[in-house]
């Protein structure tokens, strides 16, 4: 086990790139969980992966393909905004299957796509470069700024569903803006931490935080801390054990989520 790898400058940029997503995705995940729309996140991530592979096929930048595909998925989701919860869930599941089908077919038929496909699905954070880091930081800054504006609107729309309509206003723009943020964050993170790694970061930390926090701001903080802890640990383990990062991150988060649920359940009984 070579512990010197942990401090190798070669891995500094991938580490910081992952760190940015370990903060951003759990934050966005809290609002997704509030809206009970976690399945949409998985659909966005899978669609982004398919978009990246399609972009590769046409010789376009991968990041552009991922962002456009995820943006289209968010627009499709927006079209189902007024539908029943069951219809929305069905739409996300269809999107998820579409993304998966396109990705697997491309990977099976194109040698270049095969390598990229493995990177997207394994979550090979170490192969990210400075452009990934710059994109991640720029998008995270945009997201933090936007969330300051969106947060109250999203919370009001949940706790007081007719608040805006009663004042002759509409919350649809805020919902769409949030969906685009989630789609963009998942498109970018999928290219560094992988489809399931990104999904794990957006799904599990809020699950943990919602159990323990006694207020919204504390839930956001706890979700971010959970994401950071999982990222740092998975990064170190992946380097030391020479394993792909994405699955380790996912497994660590599952372990944290199960442990949190058990402790919470134990605490509730005593």
């Amino acid at each position: 086990m070579n512990t010197e790898l942990l401090f190798d400058p070669l891995f500094a940029e991938p580490f910081v790139t992952g760190l940015v997503f370990a903060v951003l995705l759990p934050l966005l995940g809290c609002y997704l969980r509030l809206r009970d729309e976690w399945l949409a996140a998985l659909a966005f991530a899978q669609t982004a992966a398919a978009g990246s592979l399609l972009a590769m096929l046409f010789g376009l930048p991968l990041v552009l393909g991922g962002l456009v595909a995820a943006g289209l998925a968010a627009s499709l989701k927006h079209a189902f905004e007024g539908a029943t919860r069951g219809t929305q869930g069905a739409a996300y599941a269809m999107l998820l299957l579409l993304g998966w089908g396109v990705s697997v077919l491309l990977v099976a038929n194109l040698p270049l796509a095969e390598r990229m496909g493995h990177a997207l699905f394994d979550g090979q954070l170490y192969f990210t470069d400075r452009s990934h880091l710059i994109n991640a930081v720029a998008f995270a800054l945009l997201s933090f700024f936007s969330l300051r504006w969106l947060s109250r609107r999203l919370l009001l729309a949940h706790f007081f569903p007719d608040f805006f309509r009663a004042r002759g206003l509409s919350e649809r723009r805020a919902h769409f803006a949030f969906d685009l943020l989630v789609a963009g964050a998942l498109a970018l993170s999928t290219m560094s931490v992988g489809v399931m790694g990104a999904f794990a970061l957006i799904f599990v930390p809020p699950l943990i935080a919602f159990n323990w926090a006694d207020g919204w701001h504390r839930a956001l903080l706890l979700a971010v801390l959970s994401g950071l802890l999982a990222h740092v640990t998975a990064f170190a383990l992946a380097l030391l054990l020479d394993q792909p990062f994405g699955p380790l991150l996912g497994l660590l988060l599952v372990g944290m989520g199960v442990l949190s649920a058990l402790l919470h359940s134990f605490g509730a009984r005593h």
Binding site: L34, L155, A213
Partner: protein
């Protein structure tokens, strides 16, 4: 008679088909108007029409331009499993915690999903009642409240009206309506 904040003229409203009306009424500044009637007569649909979430089949609603309406709905949204506390709920609508009953003020730091049905109902009422608004619409506000809660609510409604807000209160509880309303409209 004070200037009307809104006037309803020969309104017929509902969803797939008309549920309420034709109905005419007006709400003046600082007035507390009660709407009573049996279940299914369209009391909640009238509020939905006023806030734009029910279909208007005929007639019209004239609102003063820029009117700020605050609506308390009969059913609270899903809160189970969501880490949100009472103080945060009041902050969302811009409602002040000043004047809350002591039995609720001491629970403001706790999660909403750990409040009793009555505490949650009162907190939602307070968040809507004390929000910056010209008109407050309340749908069955006494649901889940015990006699002490109802008595406290009666005082809070009168104080809010004295401060200049207009209130439209829908309830099946005729005694409560008599106690707090300046006028009453009977539906059904």
């Amino acid at each position: 008679m004070s200037a009307a904040l809104f006037e309803v003229d020969a309104l017929s409203a509902g969803y797939a088909r008309p549920v309420v009306g034709p109905l005419s009424l007006r709400l003046g500044g600082g007035e507390v108007l009660g709407i009573v009637g049996p279940n299914g007569c369209g009391k909640s649909t009238l509020l939905a029409a006023l806030t734009g979430s029910a279909r208007i089949f005929s007639g019209r609603i004239d609102k003063r331009p820029g009117l700020r309406i605050s609506l308390q709905q009969q059913q609270a949204p899903a809160i189970e499993g969501i880490p949100f506390n009472g103080a945060e709920l009041l902050a969302l609508t811009g409602a002040s915690a000043e004047g809350l009953p002591p039995w609720l003020e001491s629970r403001l730091a706790g999660r909403l999903d750990r409040l009793s049905g009555g505490q949650l109902q009162f907190l939602y009422l307070w968040a809507c009642l004390q929000a910056p608004a010209d008109v407050v619409l309340l749908d069955e506000p006494t649901n889940n409240l015990d006699p002490d809660g109802i008595s406290f609510l009666e005082g809070a409604l009168r104080r809010r009206a004295d401060e200049g807000a207009s209130l439209l209160v829908v309830s099946h509880d005729a005694r409560f309506i008599d106690a707090v309303c300046d006028r009453t409209v009977v539906l059904g």
